[in-house]
């Protein structure tokens, strides 16, 4: 280490140093420095000269460029090995951290509550009750997506095929479907929903579409789907091109007993009305006529009520109610088409994910290497200082 000292030398010192340089260069010096010049010449005359054998031997070694293997190579090789080992350890630590923290590529969806829709009870232990044994048949609810997990629409479409109602039974079906898409594609996905419902001859009872362009895009649909086409409609809605299924719930409720009861009550009311009409035809007094007329009026009201109830139940049986929501999420991922096919878009997406993970690993490795490098540099500096100090001490000990 060279120290900077701007302190000017004393002129007397400078003159003496100049005299020494001059006499060593063979130049004349001032008579005032004659004694110093003579001392300098005597010191120069004490210069040891190398012996001829040594000079010749060293000349030959230099000519051969020190061909014999020398020791200084070894530490460098050790340094390379230690550096490689350090890098390997850091990379291993980085990979372990990445693995232990889980794959960063899987998005974490918020918990999605899945439950049976409508009036169906939450219990789903008995899928098909025996006919006539209970006044109200239990409903079945089939939550497809587990809470906290997001599956691709293709996967759900494959695993959650709705079963058609068994023949002769009256079943009310329904479903809830929650989709996610990018904020910019809420409109597109909503249009896809309209298209699918139209193709299946369903009805959009109500719809609300809010597209903000940023996060928070949202759409909600209340659909009536012909029960015969419910399975394919749900499958189609689960495999939209630009949406992913966040959750899906299929519900069914056997209403055969309720249907039969309503039908029987309607038939009884009709039979009562027919009987009353016959009695009215045979009535002879005004009071009998008035009384029968009132009873007939009540019977007709009952018939109308029972008929409306039966029609409503029939409508529920024939058209399944589906609630569909679309959420514009921050990380849109286009769904696979055809059940896991390979497309250029998907390949580009996968490549981006690989680069992201690689960059993360590199960043973690760098974070692990920096302290190691800092410690290494500190150790090297300490060793250099100690070695320099020991050398100086050796000089002082002469």
């Amino acid at each position: 280490m060279r120290l900077r000292d701007e302190t000017p030398l004393d002129p007397k010192v400078v003159a003496s140093l100049d005299a020494i340089d001059a006499v060593l260069a063979g130049e004349p010096v001032d008579p005032r420095h004659a004694e110093l010049a003579e001392l300098a010449l005597l010191l120069a005359g004490e210069r040891p000269e190398p012996g001829v054998p040594f000079a010749t031997q060293l000349d030959e070694r230099v000519h051969r460029r020190f061909a014999a293997p020398s020791a200084p190579r070894r530490p460098r090789r050790r340094w390379l090995w230690s550096s490689a080992a350090g890098v390997a350890v850091a990379a291993g630590v980085a990979v372990a951290i990445v693995i232990s923290s889980g794959s960063p590529s899987r998005p974490s969806a918020p918990p999605v509550a899945t439950s049976a829709a409508g009036s169906a009870p939450s219990s789903a232990s008995v899928p098909t009750p025996a006919a006539g044994r209970a006044p109200a048949a239990p409903a079945t609810a089939r939550p497809v997506a587990a809470s906290g997990q997001v599956f691709s629409s293709g996967a759900i479409g494959r695993t959650a095929t709705l079963q058609p109602p068994s023949s002769g039974r009256k079943v009310v079906q329904g479903g809830q479907l929650s989709l996610t898409t990018s904020p910019s594609r809420v409109d597109t996905v909503a249009q896809e929903v309209f298209d699918v419902v139209g193709q299946e001859r369903g009805i959009v009872n109500s719809s609300t579409v809010t597209a903000t362009g940023g996060t928070g895009g949202y759409a909600q649909f209340q659909l009536s789907i012909p029960s015969g086409a419910l399975a394919q409609t749900m499958a189609a809605l689960s495999t939209l091109q630009y949406a992913r299924v966040a959750s899906r719930t299929d519900t069914s409720q056997d209403v055969t007993d309720q249907y039969n009861a309503d039908a029987t009550r309607l038939a009884d009311a009709r039979a009562l009305r027919t009987s009353l009409l016959k009695q009215l035809a045979n009535a002879t007094t005004q009071s009998q006529i008035n009384s029968l007329t009132a009873q007939i009026h009540d019977a007709e009201a009952s018939i109308s009520s029972d008929l409306a109830t039966l029609r409503a139940l029939n409508n529920q049986i024939n058209y399944s109610q589906v609630t569909l929501t679309i959420n514009g999420g921050p990380t849109p991922l286009p769904a696979q088409s055809g059940g896991g096919g390979f497309s250029l878009h998907q390949a580009a997406h996968d490549a981006g994910r690989v680069l992201t993970v690689a960059a993360g690993v590199a960043l973690i490795a760098l974070a692990a290497l920096l302290p190691i490098a800092a410690l290494g540099a500190l150790g090297w500096w300490v060793v250099a200082v100690l070695r320099r100090r020991r050398r100086e001490q050796a000089l002082d000990a002469i």
Partner: protein, 177 residues
Amino acid sequence: MIETLSAPGETRSATAWERFEALYRSSRDDVYAYVATLLRDRAAAEDVTALAFERAYRRRRTFDRRRGEERAWLFGIARNAALDELRRRRRLAQLAADPEDTAATEVDEGDVALRRTAVREALARLSGREREIVALKFHGGLSNAEIARVLGVSESNAGTLLYRTMEKLRKACDATS
């Protein structure tokens, strides 16, 4: 002073080698003289000189001209090798007494012989650092700036050290006379 001997069109390797060879040719005797004065052992000086040139050859690509001249760089390597040798000898406790520099003993006559004897005696009484600066200046042939570079001090500090050493030698010689 070393001049670069590379010619246009030469490869980098050849240029580095030729520069080293030129440095060797111009500095071999100077390095030996400096090391021999510092160690006061001709056999050890030969080993250290050879080791210093070999190290310089191995590290010739690391030389940075911006950090000083080649001679100062070479003498820095030689100094480290010589000090390592001093440390080794101290560890082995072989330095009970400094060996005599017998090769420098010549048959002189008259006043010159007396003066040379006085100088040798005064030189022998110098401390290691003082003897080193004499070796660098009068036996290694370095300028004050190069001495400063080798010792890691400022140039004015190196000049002051040299001046004080010369004054000490002069007084010692006068006392002997």
